[in-house]
Symmetry: C2
Subunit: 210 residues, 2 copies
């Protein structure tokens, strides 16, 4: 039998949401712009039904705002926006670290990410960074926490991802500290380290954005 990539991987509403998300984050759709159902559907080559659902997904991710009978306005990055995003992520990821320690979860995947991050250069730092965080979420054993953090990661604030070497080095060092504390099952230390890591990333993002 032929081995072909399936035509349909996800529901159309999610493809639409992904496409719009990318456009908003890359700022090819500008802040404050008004999205109408019909024009968006036409631009995506689909009907309005899945577009309506995609709008709700994006609203949940904080990329657009839905007003009663008035449609969707594209939200932009703002300092307040960034702050809110990172404050929540700091709390949740710190909790994930705490849970990993308390449950004595398997750390092999996390370790793999840390060492990969060491060996490879900074060019694909973004993916490795995400893997490191994601595997911690997974190891926490709280599937709902994984869902919430995944949604946050899709949000606006993660849009402008840095590839600067300087940032990658600093971040890598912090990842190693976090991992060592996880390995030592130091719940307080690991969660505090993760919290600090994320809040410092927030400051980086804020200054870069400003």
């Amino acid at each position: 039998m032929l081995n072909l990539r399936p035509v349909k991987l996800m529901p159309v509403r999610e493809q639409a949401a992904a496409s719009l998300r990318e456009a908003i984050i890359s700022q090819s759709i500008k802040q404050g712009e008004m999205l109408t159902l019909e024009s968006t559907a036409k631009a995506l080559g689909i009907s309005v039904t899945p577009v309506r659902e995609a709008f709700q997904i994006l609203a949940r991710d904080g990329l657009i705002e839905l007003a009663q009978n008035r449609g969707a306005v594209v939200l932009g990055m703002s300092p307040k926006n960034i702050r809110e995003h990172y404050e929540i992520r700091a709390a949740l990821e710190a909790e994930a670290c705490r849970l990993v320690c308390e449950k004595g979860a398997d750390l092999s995947e996390i370790e793999r990410c840390v060492s990969h991050l060491v060996s490879s250069g900074a060019e694909n730092y973004g993916d490795l960074n995400q893997s490191f965080h994601y595997n911690i979420w997974l190891a926490s054993g709280n599937t709902r926490l994984v869902n919430m953090l995944s949604e946050l990661w899709n949000g606006l604030s993660m849009g402008l991802r840095t590839t600067k070497n300087e940032y990658a080095r600093k971040s890598q060092a912090e990842h190693e500290v976090i991992f060592s504390m996880l390995k030592a099952s130091d719940a307080d230390g690991a969660s505090r380290a993760m919290r600090g890591h994320i809040l410092r990333s927030m400051e980086d993002m804020l200054t870069r954005y400003k």
Copy 2:
């Protein structure tokens, strides 16, 4: 002109979601039951489009699960479910306390809730308890955090709310401790106290459910 209550307060999809939420939490729709679009739409007296959107809201709240092309199954309370809910809430509400302290927010509304909780009996404890927590979220100044916690509060685990006097007393004492730490701007203390308060509530819920 006549002064009448508007017939339509919220979008139909949200009314539908609210109606289904209530039915699921009160267990008039049982765990594991399969909800079909058509029958649900007929039962609610609306068409299927807003029902589909309501299903997605409920799935986000963790009350149902949507399977590809197979509809919605009603989820039940499980220990894992409860744990995940409270772990996340503990992290977020502790963060809210931290933010309240760091930002030096206005505490008057929160104080009002604490003293109301003192003066009135335990009969309307549920509402007062919610007000206390809600006003802390608000005072954090993080609107996204408010949204996320509101969604969590709508979830399954909050369904069986206790009115037992014993619990209300214990909880009230903890609320007072939390408030005093907020007033002293002790971010670490307040967040730790809130965290403990919620995790203890979790234990109560787990033993009661078991």
